[in-house]
Symmetry: C2
Amino acid sequence: MYLALKRSDRMTPIKELTQSLRIPFHFAAKILQRLARKGLLVSLKGRAGGFGLGVAPTEITLFHIVEAIDGVEFTRRCVLGLPACSVENPCALHETWREERDRIYKMLVRKSVAEMAREMKNSLHGLAATKDKDFDGYQTNHS
Amino acid sequence: MYLALKRSDRMTPIKELTQSLRIPFHFAAKILQRLARKGLLVSLKGRAGGFGLGVAPTEITLFHIVEAIDGVEFTRRCVLGLPACSVENPCALHETWREERDRIYKMLVRKSVAEMAREMKNSLHGLAATKDKDFDGYQTNHS
DNA sequence: CTAATTTAGGATAAAAGAGTCCGATTATCA
DNA sequence: TGATAATCGGACTCTTTTATCCTAAATTAG
């Protein structure tokens, strides 16, 4: 969302993002890295390097992000954890849970990063406004 | 569900249940213990001891079980994990997730153990029928 | 070419969760 | 009253997940 709101042609370094959002550097780094590997973000090393969107924010959905971070196993897995659960041999929640799961799936596919970023514009701005505090984005040794 | 299907006035020892269901003894013990502490089950030590339903199976809902095992934090927690998320300061998914969460909550409250036990009668019987194998309910030292 | 900056990715550490074990306690039966 | 059959609950272990750290590689400015 932060990158979507920036909409600049330059790359955004992890450090800038984590200072604005006040989250740990290495924590964000791993997440950005994973999203970049999936093509949702692009990255560039070295000076003037950083991260940017790899696809238009209207095209990135919550489902893409869930897929990149947690995988899609939840769309198949029996909610009671029974290995033998199937249409032929359904558990007590097979159909009931399929309905809920399908709704959530549709919601994830529907919701874009562009939409979410728009809705959180104010709070993300608010966070960015506090960036001139002494939070350097690194949790430990102030390098 | 197993206890609901038994519907006997005697108590069911953990060992019988775990042999029928082919699950580890100590694993089941901990779960039964927790449900008993919440009053959903009753327990009795000593000879002729074991576990039984503490309430009619029509009165025990999935929500009661989720509450006893995992707690109800999920009904409050922001799906994005933001501590400051609230109606006044909603995250990008605040309302969307509230809808899904409410649906699931209603489903949990609606679904009773009696209903689930009825639906799984066949597979639970099937499991119980295989109990004369060499599975003694304990994972380790065959006491 | 060198120094500075920035991400990449593997290694490690910390935390959480799940599962197991065991001694203590309680109850029943003979 | 002693032997036996059970649960109780804390301690322990194992696995998984989450978070952090560190070195290498890439890129650019000077």
